[in-house]
Symmetry: C2
Subunit: 163 residues, 2 copies
DNA sequence: TTGTTTGTGTTATATTGTAACTTTAAAACC
DNA sequence: GGTTTTAAAGTTACAATATAACACAAACAA
């Protein structure tokens, strides 16, 4: 799957990202015999409108527009499903959700998050993740879920770039 | 400062942890010419009653008991102050706060969190933190704040220990 | 001691997330 | 095809977390 190592790039063809994500999700659900319902698809599609994490409540208007019930439980259920399947990640620092560019590979979902433009980019932390896990094991701790998130400023937003 | 490498140990003298934390905080504030007010002290002390992260609202009763105003802003202000000074960390995955055993050293605050008993232990992630930061830099990203949190099961709570 | 800054009191409300129950629609079975 | 079973969505109500805005008071600085 392409487009997964874009980094912070404002000038890519984002339509491609969306298409790929939806296509990938369809394939994945079909493989796993899961129902990729209209609501789930719409939520995923809305999340993929940008590379900015969206809050659950920001997804409600899209549901309303499409004629669905737009109460919180609806969107949280869809988000739960998408998270369980690895199609979206939740960013704890922001209470927000973002699409995963490679839902098939088993991984945690680590992010660089720009405070200025709000874009978030998923990074590969398999190696450091293993270091952390082995450190945990030494303390007798059995790790299950890891969350690595970095707040900062992306290259598009660094001051000198702007001047 | 002792007691900072306790790991998951249910049987330590916790009074020591509390005393040390408060003493350290007093020293730190005095050094930095900051006011360690009764409310700030009480909030810190309450947080240190255990090694379990506490939600902001769980701190309110202690304020009420001591005769202070116990509306949310009071506790959030104290928490903001304590966080700024590195005396407590916020655990994003839990929306909860925990005391920092070594507020003097510059660091991020990474945690192993037990889903069963809720205890959280701070771990040193300076090395992996640097790896992540250099990875970020390669993408032109300027990191500011890092959050590393691991959910799992602590040695006191692993099934075989219980049987 | 008079301003200025910092901390606290207070009210109200914003934001995020769930519980519990009903209704509908899809899938599985006969 | 019709019936049962299960999964998803609709709906209402509310819980949990966090902040805005303004009033007041105590500490500090000149």
């Amino acid at each position: 799957m392409a487009n997964q190592n874009l980094g912070f790039h404002s000038d890519h063809d984002h339509t491609g990202c969306i298409e790929q994500a939806l296509e990938g999700a369809r394939a994945l659900c079909s493989e796993r015999n899961l129902r990729f319902t209209p609501i789930r698809e719409l939520v995923l599609k809305t999340i993929w409108q940008s590379h900015k994490p969206l809050g659950a409540y920001e997804l409600l208007p899209a549901l309303a527009e499409a004629g669905f019930n737009s109460a919180p439980p609806t969107v949280y259920r869809a988000l739960d499903f998408l998270q369980e399947q690895g199609l979206v990640h939740r960013i704890a620092l922001l209470n927000a959700f973002i699409g995963c560019p490679h839902p098939n590979e088993q991984h945690q979902g680590s992010f660089l998050i720009c405070k200025a433009c709000n874009n978030a980019v998923e990074i590969d932390t398999d190696e450091v993740g293993q270091v952390i896990n082995s450190q945990a094991s030494k303390l007798g701790f059995i790790p299950e879920k890891q969350s690595i998130e970095v707040l900062g400023t992306c290259p598009e937003c660094v001051p000198d770039k702007l001047s």
